[in-house]
Assembly symmetry: C2
Homo-oligomer: 428 residues x 2
């Protein structure tokens, strides 16, 4: 018997009870949602989009309360948290776009007949209950709700504390959509508890939650990866490489590298490190650096690169393992494909790497030698995106080895089951 109350233990117990109640409601809804026909799911999404538009004033008022409640935010954080009419409209359109995508549930993924006449069919099926853990962008919750709903999996949304009122107002619109379509409201739930312990309860909920998807900074994702007892689809970082091979077309290399590094420096598919073949470096590196410098980029270069351009700042070993998410490019000179692959294995995050070359056999060698989720040949690493892949929507990017790799869209959010159809067969 312990007579001294422990507030941390109490908070954990309260969070666990709240999570269990939400997860059980989600599990019950899952059985229903897994069998919901496409028009029902699409109607819920369309009605939720309509509610986002008609209840825009409420949403913006809730968002203003969130902003007022957190006066000490950085400008970047404040920008991520802020909603305006254009952003609400973008959320509504996002829901409608998901409604327009094909239903991933029930697709026949493979089918064959055995010599004994058994017909075996592999059929796409919802994963079950998803737990979505994200930070300050309120639209992440709306996007995730739409994708999970269409993929037939109830979701429990746990956004950042700072966006509490915004999340509740958006959730009210999604609940309108669910009710209008006759779907259980437990298909999309907002964490009933803003305590940090609720995240811990989600991560411990093996058997209650089937999949956790974290979206946010490296700190959040790494914590989830390390603590979760529930399977996780995620990427902690995108330490992407662009490798300029000696047989690269120089104009193509300049165009792709500038895009891969500088189009948007803050996304996970942006290039952090340029690898360049020694044979190409003397002629090409000065041009590549001049292009990027004109766009505002800074550099961290190894000794061989600095032998060509001594004004570049020296790179430490740690720099090559740093995801800058900023206008900074690491540069290393390498000696061919194996040398580039070796650098990527030491420093990369198995996200996306590109080779620029006109030599097909070098490109094959590079692509086959990568362990990364995505390998590109003569294209910008910034193409690693569900929309650019044609998935229509994505809930995240995965760099683990199991289930799904690369952009995670509706199809990747499904699992499968087998239907075995016989005529009375028994096993000999």
């Amino acid at each position: 018997m312990n007579a001294i109350a422990d507030p941390a233990t109490d908070a954990a117990a309260i969070a666990r009870a709240a999570l269990e109640e939400a997860a059980r409601a989600a599990r019950a809804a899952a059985t229903f949602l897994a069998r919901a026909p496409r028009p029902v799911k699409d109607r819920a999404l369309a009605e939720a989009a309509a509610a986002l538009r008609s209840r825009q004033d409420e949403i913006l008022a809730a968002n203003a309360r969130d902003l007022a409640g957190a006066p000490d935010l950085t400008d970047a954080f404040r920008d991520r948290l802020t909603l305006n009419p254009a952003r609400v409209e973008a959320m509504a359109r996002g829901l409608e776009e998901v409604a327009g995508l094909p239903d991933p549930v029930g697709r026949v993924l493979a089918e064959w007949t055995r010599p004994n006449g058994l017909l075996i069919r592999r059929v796409a099926q919802p994963i079950g209950v998803v737990g979505m853990i994200y930070e300050s962008r309120p639209n992440v919750g709306a996007d995730a709700a739409a994708i999970c709903l269409k993929a037939g999996s109830p979701v429990i949304l746990r956004g950042g504390r700072e966006s509490l009122h915004s999340a509740a107002a958006i959730h009210a619109c999604i609940a309108d959509g669910l009710r209008a379509a006759g779907l259980p409201e437990a298909c999309v739930q907002v964490a009933p508890n803003t305590d940090r312990a609720f995240v811990g309860a989600m991560l411990a909920a093996a058997g209650l939650i089937d999949l956790i998807i974290p979206r946010g900074g490296k700190g959040l994702v790494t914590r989830v990866q390390q603590e979760s007892r529930v399977p996780v689809l995620s990427h902690a970082e995108g330490l992407c490489h662009t490798y300029v091979h000696e047989a690269a077309d120089p104009a193509m290399a300049r165009s792709i590298l500038a895009n891969a590094k500088m189009r948007r420096t803050g996304i996970c598919g942006s290039t952090e490190t340029l690898l360049i073949d020694r044979a190409a470096a003397a002629a090409l590196l000065p041009q590549l650096v001049a292009d990027l410098r004109a766009l505002g980029c800074d550099f961290r270069a190894d000794a061989a690169a600095r032998a060509i351009l001594p004004e570049l700042k020296p790179a430490t070993e740690a720099d090559f393992s740093t995801e800058w998410l900023d206008a900074i490019l690491n540069i290393a000179v390498v000696d061919g494909v194996e040398s580039a692959l070796g650098h990527i294995r030491r420093h990369g995050s198995e996200h996306t790497e590109a080779i620029i070359t006109q030599d097909e056999s070098a490109a094959r060698h590079f692509l086959d030698g990568l362990g990364s989720a995505v390998g590109m040949w003569n294209a910008s690493t910034q193409f690693c995106d569900g929309g650019e892949f044609g998935f229509g929507a994505e809930i995240g990017i995965a760099t683990g080895r199991l289930h799904a790799r690369g952009p995670v869209g509706l199809e990747q959010l499904c699992t499968w089951r087998y239907h075995v159809i016989g005529t009375g067969q028994i096993r000999p």
Copy 2:
């Protein structure tokens, strides 16, 4: 500073160091094995099979040492541990069969072209380093080694302590095969440490091991599922149901149920519970019970079944959640498909369930409503097996929601990556 040596901590540290060394060697081999062409892998398997045959005497002598070292085994355990010339020959043939299967690595799983001309290809790729944890059957190690090798993933084998000498002798033959084919010996390693702490070290090795596969009793598998920080493919039990619908063909129901329960009672796909529609029970249940009783089966029945056959033993609620793996059948009377699905959700293990019916819409309803990895219509649950599915070989059965479900063969032991092939595209 703690001056008192703690043997448990020491054992854990030693096991962790041993595991890390093995896993690093496996990781280095993975890069090589992932790119090994099919003939090289097949040669290793064929040479290993030849070595098993030519070194049969050594293997049997090692097995005799294991048996002599463990005099207090149960008969069943002793049988699982025992090798003889027929069992060694079966292992060798198993390796040759895997060599005869198509290479799962490098298959193009999907391919499409985007409006901007990017060609996107989803390509099958090895998972990485596999950790296999099993119990007393020495052949499990040989089978797992063959499947992992063919699927391009190095494996660390951790069998039961009782089979230590047998495992080492079999491993020596596999090492012969690897050497003959020019593959790194670290492609297949036996745990260098028989301490129980080595299993703990494997389960903690996130980032070093990519996938853990446990094969054995519920205790082992449940421990692995609960403790592992590494993704796991497994099933802790197969609590399979056969549901005899009111529109079942009586002769087919009798034939299938007898096979599903009694063909082999100790495998995970054997039926543990008969669900029978109230409308069919009075006429059919006496026949079904008489058939099974003649085969030596005993019963645990609910009140409605005992109203028809009062001599049946009553079932407790716990019985319906018990995987007997024996000649015992639970019997529950249900009221239609939803009632059967409800029973399965409460008591099942999401492994394999069958419906026997001539009514197609009832069968669809049942199959669509299941969460289980495998749903069967008019076939025996004992067909849940990689060989019966046409996979040629299986490393286990998975009942989780992610990656692979049902029998895990060569294809399911692969992950994928994307190849994105451009002509200089940059992202707008």
